[in-house]
Amino acid sequence: MNLAIYLRRVLLTALIPFLLLPGSGWATAGEPVLRILAWPGYVDADVVSAFEKRFGGRIELTIIDSDAALWQKISSNQGADFDVFAVNTAELQRYIDKELVQPIAPEAIPNTRRQLPRFRAIERLSRDGKVYGIPYTYAEMGLIYDRAQLATPPDSISALWDPRFHGRVLAYNGGSHNFSLAALAQGSARPFGIAAGDWKRNVEKLVALRRNVLGFYTEPEESVRLFRRQGAALMFANYGMQQVQLLKAAGVDVGYVIPREGALAWLDCWAISRGAQDRTLAHAWIDYTLEESVSSLLVSRQGLSNTIATASGNRSEGKLHWLEPVEDVAKREKLWARIVSGDRPAKVLLP
């Protein structure tokens, strides 16, 4: 035998064990792979390894942190790059429109029976009788109050306008949410769709809010700082339990309520992309995340809410208004910019 050929054979033989190492891709082609795209904190490493142990296969987890990034990753290859992803209900609609998701078989996900009834009856998760999203986690924008200053928890959004709390209320600096909030405070059933004749009312309501609050915040840390330093009594919790946890960590004794008008809330669902390779494993994954041991981690580790357990306190009783695209974002933001700048109602409403 030619020496060169012999050497090449010896080398190739020596390399084979390395080529077969797990993780190098092709060598493990026989093993099913589930490609998951999720948000920080949704899928922890121990959850991944427990799933892999029970169902076999391997999970490839990718983390995104914005709706834009999510849309880019799913739409770039017609959904063929991922099997399962987490998306909020408002965003889900455009994925359905562009046919980037495929219908889910609810019977393959028996754990949906564990979910609280209100999550099983959300219209926006289905279209034409087909289910496209399974709710997984959510956060709602309730009210945070200082237990030392309020003997009884506020039961209505109107507490934000209560002159008793003048200069002790913190609200969020965001036009879209605030108009929805103003609409809810006035008993509107359609907080995401303000009728043409209702703008004046809502503007006046928000100017009144401005005159009653201490100030407006944008970031959770900022809200906590203002709450503590300025002795606020009541706060609209745009970031929900995240702010409660921060305040508690900072040593403030706060309570958290969903007002009787209900709270604005975002809800993230699992969806299966059109190009999913292994539908069975995808369904198994969604079912698995709805188990008590997995879903409870959202609460204990992340301060988020899950869809299977009744939360403590008043939270569970409250009605939730899942975020929807609003009638005119630009108009809401323009008017809000004037309101927050300090213009009086007449000037706000100028064209």
Binding site: G167, R211, F216, R229, Q230, V340, S341, G342, R344, K347
Partner: protein
Amino acid sequence: MRIGIALRTGLLLAVIGVLASGFTGYYAYNSSRTLLVGAAEEQLMAATRVLVRQISVSIETFSRHASMAANSPQAAHSLADGDAAVRTRAENHLAALFAAILQENPEFFQMRLIDANDHGIERVRVDRDTDGLVRVTGDDLQEKGHYPYVFEALRQPPGTVYISRPAINRERGAHAGQDKPSIVFAAQVRRDGGTAPLGLVVINVDLEGVFRQLAADLPSGIDLYLTNRNGDFLLHPDPARAFAFDRGQRALVQEQFSAAAVLFDGSTDHVITTTPELVAAFVKQPLSPPQQDAFFTLGLSQPLDHVLKESNALGFTMLRIVLAFSGLSVLLAALLARAITRPLDQIVGAVKRFSAAQQREPLPLERRDEIGVLARSFAEMQERIDAQVAELHEKQDELNHLASHDNLTGLPNRRLFLDRLDLALARARRNEERLALLFIDLDRFKDINDMHGHAAGDAMLRAVAERIRASVRESDTVARLGGDEFVVLVEGTHHPEDTSLLAQKVLTALTPPVPYGTMTLEVGASIGVSQYPQDGQTASELVASADRAMYRAKKEGNRRNNIAS
């Protein structure tokens, strides 16, 4: 061999020279580079501290402006005088004051008097606009009570000036300051002896304007960074990184310069760092007057290329020096190699020529080094070899003589004689000349030997040889063939009679007695003559013919002095 020694010595010396200058150059360059970076770091840090100091001074100046305006009587009158006309007049005065201050301070966006009541309504407001100052009045005055620079400033202890966090001013209608990075200074307006503040004088300062002025003095290539207490960039050479938090993103100094993280854990108030592209210095500075643990960090950076430009220039100079020295060392190596190998070559040449032809060549004998020793040793060896060769030649000549001459008489012996006869015959044949042989045999030589001893015989033979030689021409060959036989080769004889005459002359010469001690010894000879070409063609024929003639002569002359031919 010649090229070998020269080349090898030269190469070795050249390599040593090049390496030495190369390493020297490299280490000099490296240490100069380190020194330069160190110097640049120190300069940057010093410049950063100077800037921080200037900013602190600016901040104090802005605070003083706010306090001064807030302490003016017009401010209090505008807010609290019972008479509306007095209030209006005071407001106008205050507006004029604000306008004057704004004129003086181009980095101020706006100055306002804000009421502590009525939701923080603006009472007096002068804004800077693109083409001058604008006094905002009537419905355009806004309620600002929900802004931290109002509600926090109103809660500050008396006499302190509130300084806001730097932020993009999103308030609508703010003219030149709208959507621009700003810092707000707010000073309380109080009535003498009043417990609660009546309102605030608020100055919006153009953050970029302040730093534009400061940065104008910086040398080109130096970039300025400013961060808030979290490390968010407020100023950055890349505008996309400044106020990123305002756009829902994060751009932190501790992410771009990981070394800067120490500024935020409280361990130090300054840090210097060198990335592959930049040298950067950061200094952390609390606000003055102090504002609840608030601080900012200021940084300056300089491209490393820029810092190393001098070092690179130095590097090029070093390179040139290294190249020059390398060239020089190559040249020196060549010269040195030549200096070493030339005398060696000389010696080698001398050895070669000496061994080939025993020729003497000049040697570098005068050198005092090893080569001189080598040359002198070789010269000595040459001398010795010369002496030995001369001795050898002498001995060889002697041996040759012994081999071809008779020991006793010194005459050529038979062998040499036959050689000469052959040569003479060849010559005679070619020139058609004649030659003759005289074969001489002594008469009664045996008797002398017997009677007087061998010594007498020898003396007799020596005398005979001498007499024969004396009686012939010098060109004729006289030889002793052995015992008492002699022979004479006569060349160029023209006539047989000449030979007879010669034979007679020889015989006559031999006739007188030979003295020996006290005695005289009688001597006689018989001579046989043969002639070429008559008596023979070859040497042996001629010798045999002469021999026969000699015997005839002996017989005829009764063994006494006779000649036959």
